[in-house]
């Protein structure tokens, strides 16, 4: 069967790609998409450890469910903030959102 390490490496690769995207994207929407990738990598690790090491009554899967719910909430709030900023400043590029700087 498929060894545990391969699932963990898949999670690490997805995390690294999400990190790269979050660091390089100019648009806030692109950064939010990359953060979704990072959260999915965390979910893969949680479920992998739950399967291979075991745990009390599916703790890893329950935690992954919580991560999904919080990811949904954060995506909603993030995208609404993007739309509110766009309405006020007519841009979604993060380097133009600098009116809090002096």
């Amino acid at each position: 069967m498929i060894p545990q390490n391969h699932f963990l490496i898949l999670g690490a690769v997805l995390f690294a790609m999400g990190l790269y995207g979050a660091l390089t994207r100019r648009t806030a929407i692109g950064i939010l998409m990359s953060i979704e990738l990072i959260l999915n990598a965390a979910n893969i690790n949680l479920i992998t450890f739950n399967k291979f090491i075991g745990g009390p009554d599916g703790l890893g899967q329950v935690f992954a469910l919580f991560v999904m719910a919080i990811a949904a909430a954060s995506a909603v709030i993030g995208l609404v903030l993007v739309i509110a900023v766009y309405r006020n400043m007519k841009t979604i590029f993060t380097e133009k959102m600098n009116i809090l700087k002096w």
Binding site: L23, E36, V62, A72, A84
Partner: protein, 186 residues
């Protein structure tokens, strides 16, 4: 031992005379590779609408990976929440904010090389740790994968309080989204 959906599918495959382990492993690596390819598309494509579609496909492949981890319920929830709701939300946000789909607009900032180096360094560090670590693995067969019934029981008994807090967070996100997103009165 595998159980669940993948087990049943591999039973069907082995009825056709194909080697079961090979088919399961090959399909896992194909799905994992597709997930990585689509994830790269999310972070590297220029048209942000294509990025959103690539994100949907990547999350679909991750749902397939959950099947190999005996987490059928989470696979279905992944498709419902992520592909069904979150990616749709991303596409709405892309549609509501104009002129970012143009290919001539640069999507990456000037830190591409540094960011790639940092990500590659962290990835190689992780892989080094993962390969070297003496993981404590349960013996084959003793770690039973939790079924849907176990998850439901856990959510309603041991983790009832975090479950309620999640509902509170979702309600707060709902109200906050309406308040922030509401247009100002002229």
């Amino acid at each position: 031992m595998m159980n669940g959906l993948i087990r049943q599918l591999s039973d069907i495959v082995s009825n056709y005379g194909l080697p079961r382990d090979f088919v399961v492993q090959a399909s896992f690596y194909v799905i994992a590779g597709l997930a990585c390819v689509f994830a790269f598309g999310v972070v590297a494509m220029r048209n942000i609408f294509h990025c959103a579609v690539s994100l949907a496909l990547c999350l679909f492949c991750i749902a397939g990976v959950y099947l190999f981890l005996n987490a059928e319920f989470l696979a279905v929830v992944q498709i419902l929440i992520y592909v069904g709701a979150i990616v749709t939300l991303f596409i709405f946000a892309i549609m509501l904010t104009s002129n970012i789909e143009d290919r001539s607009i640069r999507q990456a900032n000037r830190q591409v090389l540094v960011s790639a180096a940092v990500a590659a360094a962290i990835l190689s560090f992780f892989i080094f740790i993962i390969i070297g670590a003496p993981w404590k693995t349960a013996a084959e067969g003793t770690a039973t994968a939790p079924g849907l019934e176990d998850i439901g029981r856990a959510l309603m008994s041991a983790y009832a309080l975090p479950f309620e807090f999640i509902s509170l967070i979702l309600l707060a996100a709902l109200v906050g989204a309406i308040v922030i997103g509401k247009a100002k009165k002229q």
